[in-house]
Symmetry: D2
Subunit: 331 residues, 4 copies
């Protein structure tokens, strides 16, 4: 087993650790066959179900990547984090949380039922579709370009470049997403939206279609992990309060209706998307004398084969294993 501490300051430490991560990825890659790629959009269905990749980014440029890290994929529901953050920055946290609750639901992400069962019709949290669409409607701007501009600016600060929208996926989402339109019209009727529905949905579909990589996700996780601050430049990219609230909602609501299980068995904030991506992170309080590099690290995972709730099946298992090996749980 590991001797001494692994702070990745030396090349030898890093190589040694890389071997471990490679072994784990190779092991869990086999579990991809337990899942299925999302098929509601043709482009998503074309993803290679065998893929599994991971990127881990820490302070001082420390990083480990392993597996299928070159694959680009659309960010999908992970974008819900970004629009929630931007909406809170633009409108204030209390304004946003007056319009969207922060309770987990126990229902599928695309449920409409809860809107009808509860009175008043406040969406349960910003990470179910109803809540995310409401949040998107709160973004400032008259059209999707204006609304998404601060999201792209935020992303650029976090990942170092301005990502693109996958137009094919956007077009598909726009065409096929009947359930999201159903939710949108429901929210329109309950007067939950603050932008026109067509603008809101166009923005929502665009935000879901942003192209990303596991490296990007790891960098997003890194900023969130460090309470919104770039740990190296010490620049505040996201206000501290918003970053911390976001992490709390990720823990309770980030993994669809497997959120409780993920909190229990893995124990770190994470948010998954239907394309197979997961962003996870170790809050700064998570420390490990043996593996100091994990303090405040961000993790990006990609594995498009999904379990029934919509999370990457191999990605979940890989994260569980790593969290256990490196003692990442916040509890």
């Amino acid at each position: 087993m590991v001797q001494g501490t692994m702070n990745l300051n030396t090349q030898i430490d890093k190589e040694w650790l890389q071997n471990y991560v490679d072994d784990w990825v190779a092991f869990y890659q086999k579990t991809t066959e337990e899942g299925k790629v999302a098929s509601y959009i043709p482009v998503l269905a074309e993803a290679n179900p065998d893929h599994l990749g991971i990127a881990i980014y820490g302070k001082n440029g420390m990083n480990i990547t392993s597996g299928d890290t070159d694959v680009t994929f659309t960010i999908q529901s992970i974008s819900k984090i970004l629009t929630f953050i931007v909406a809170c920055m633009e409108r204030g946290v209390s304004y946003v949380l007056d319009r969207v609750d922060v309770e987990p639901t126990g229902e599928a992400f695309n449920s409409i039922m809860h809107l009808e069962m509860k009175s008043p019709n406040k969406p349960f949290n910003p990470f179910v579709n109803a809540g995310a669409i409401t949040v998107t409607s709160l973004l400032e701007g008259k059209n999707s370009q204006e609304k998404l501009e601060p999201v792209f600016e935020l992303l650029e600060k976090m990942i170092g470049y301005r990502p693109i929208i996958n137009q094919q996926v956007f077009a598909s989402e726009d065409e096929t997403s009947a359930r999201n339109r159903a939710i949108g019209y429901y929210l329109l009727e309950t007067e939950s939206l603050e932008s026109p529905l067509d603008v809101t949905l166009e923005t929502y579909f665009k935000q879901c279609s942003i192209e990303t990589t596991v490296t990007d996700l790891a960098k997003i996780g890194l900023i969130l992990a460090n309470d919104g601050e770039d740990p190296d430049s010490e620049e505040e990219i996201i206000p501290r309060q918003i970053a911390r609230i976001t992490k709390a909602i990720m823990l309770t609501c980030g993994m669809y209706d497997a959120s409780g299980k993920f909190a229990t068995y893995v124990g770190i904030p994470a948010k998954s998307g239907v394309s197979g991506g997961i962003v996870a992170l170790a809050p700064p309080r998570v420390r490990n004398a043996q593996f100091p590099f994990i303090e405040g690290c961000g993790i990006g995972v990609y594995g498009p084969a999904l379990e029934e709730r919509g999370n990457s099946v191999a990605g979940m298992k890989l994260l569980k294993h790593i969290a256990s090996q490196w003692d990442l749980s916040i509890f």
Copy 2:
């Protein structure tokens, strides 16, 4: 503001800090009038709605208490933590979690609806009544005495004495708790129970009727905070894995259908009971150079005036304030 670190090693530090806590308790005591004491049992209805008390226990015997700390009250739903822990110790974690899920519900703690809506009829988590009754049925023993003996033994190790059952409350629970019997019979029909229903419910009502104080709750929190270990004697009282899982479920499901809000605004594992008690804790990863004493501390609160979801209204606000002042959030 505070200068230097407050490690409570010196009498002067402690007095200084005590003043703060006394001020906060005095301030939030006024918010007790926003709530109402539980009235479904006559004894509970007799509680003094103006009461508010807190105890904070850390390592090395550090403790601060303030407000109405002498009042005894029944532990109610906080007992769900204890039986869950004991069931996991007796049966193994996976055995228990095969029978009770760990997902938050978005529904009231005494909901039956979710059992019917979901298939199979696995209770959502061990802290809603349906899950807690199922967990109680898993405890070993032929009768309530046998089932609760290990619970009392666990409690004695944590709080230093063997608490008593408030017979008047037990008798009232036993007489009046129609909804819990409804849940119990529902679970009986879905074959979720592993003990006879009458034994299960008698045990459940007894566990809810254990008398406790804020000091007891703080000591329970202290052990949980430190992953099941007594921080001073270093004795393992609860296996580490079980302690950590329990804390995760407390965070996602501990405060009824306000759990998501508590995680977001306060950010620490907690479990409340309908008598107005709350046990909360700062996991060991929560560190604070300025206030080192809070590392791994346990907190007990009592304030019988409840908000509509069944949590102590002043207790929630007091905890939120303290968590913010001392930066307790795990995120």
Copy 3:
């Protein structure tokens, strides 16, 4: 085809008609294999799934019986009609309907969910278990004997003898019916019951355990069909208003969550029980110049092999065929 009218005044007419009914019973008897006998009580599980019998009773002692008419079975949910009638006679229609609504639910007969979803917690109708148990609690009397005495008196007037309670079934119901106890305790908590729960449930289980035959059911149907009056003696056995209301609720709610389909495809008031019995009837307005004997007739059917919703599979088909052949639909 039939020539002239069939008023059964002549032996030749009756024989001729008997042949038809015998043919139909023989034909639909084969469909019994599409269903399964109820198994939640051992005694019910012992029923012969191949059985199918029918009795049709009209004015002037006219009757036709065919198939397995000798079999006795417990009346089960059909008793809900009787207790509803007696409760209305004892308490008045408006008193009863203030406590139980008359809306179909779209849910299974033993659903608890609707009680929780709707506010206030008024059971949907007297023929779902929650409503029937509430109605039973309204019956006058301190114990089940006193409560059921008027039910037996009513039955004796309708069927000509005092039926017995199948003690084995009663004992089984009492032992096994966890779901009904769950419903009962739920109703207790919402203060819907006007008798002690144990008395209410004992009465309910006893009323379900009354032994009956297709002939009895046909005679019950006959009285209801004729607005509560014995068509021959012209004695009023059930007040007209109560009889008519009962028939309306039978049509909208009598066949569990297949009630709408039965109303649409068969079109006559009917009530089924889980033992495989069905009581049906042709309201007096249903006239047929060709088959005058069907005016105001009562029909009893028995076929213990049930479809998934709990209705006799062959019994439903046989009734549909007869209703179509003799044009019984009230619409």
Copy 4:
């Protein structure tokens, strides 16, 4: 009280009866103040809440009208009857009922919840919005004109002229009906629709916007009452099977979530619309020696002040009174 029979063959009988109906309308007109006009569309909100009118049409041109009979209003949900009939005529009853069930729901007419709770996602019945929109999608034709042409032809046969679409209401429906679009998109996703959604909704909004009068509704009721046949010309306007099925569904599902109560307290098939119209009818089996004119009559009512479930408050009461006075109940 009435002496002899009232067959309206003589002028004196008719005058005598007219007086009664005028009295009843005057009496129940006062109850309009218990309700409120629908306000979700501006045009509907302009209706005069004091209005109450009725038309009763029987055989041989017999008719009685009273109250505010000159007012035109949009047919709204009563159109669901017409499109259901036309869809059954075009596609066959079994084709339609394979796609839409005929069970009452116990939920509000615009509920989405039931679609999600039940599997598969078959709408509960053709008179809740989800079912009606599905039925409209089954109508033959590439656009709303083609789809509605047979509906207009059917209407013309029944009421003697071709009604118009209220363009102002249609435009408002089209603009404002977010909930119906939500339902529509939900149905699109579950692949319940057989026409493009925009065509389906345009058709649905147009059918709801057809202008009508109480006289028209009475004539529609008259044809339905007589099993689809014009009682005077004996022309078959609607196939008998379809007419009878329609009446059955009207009885179980026609008055929103008050359908069970209407069946119980009034006892005749009826369908209401949110503009305050109700079409009701006495099936041909309803006979009354004293009032022979009511046999197979159709009744149109208009009273825009609605009770909470969306039915005309005074219209319901007036119908209940008439049904009681003339013994119209089918039971």
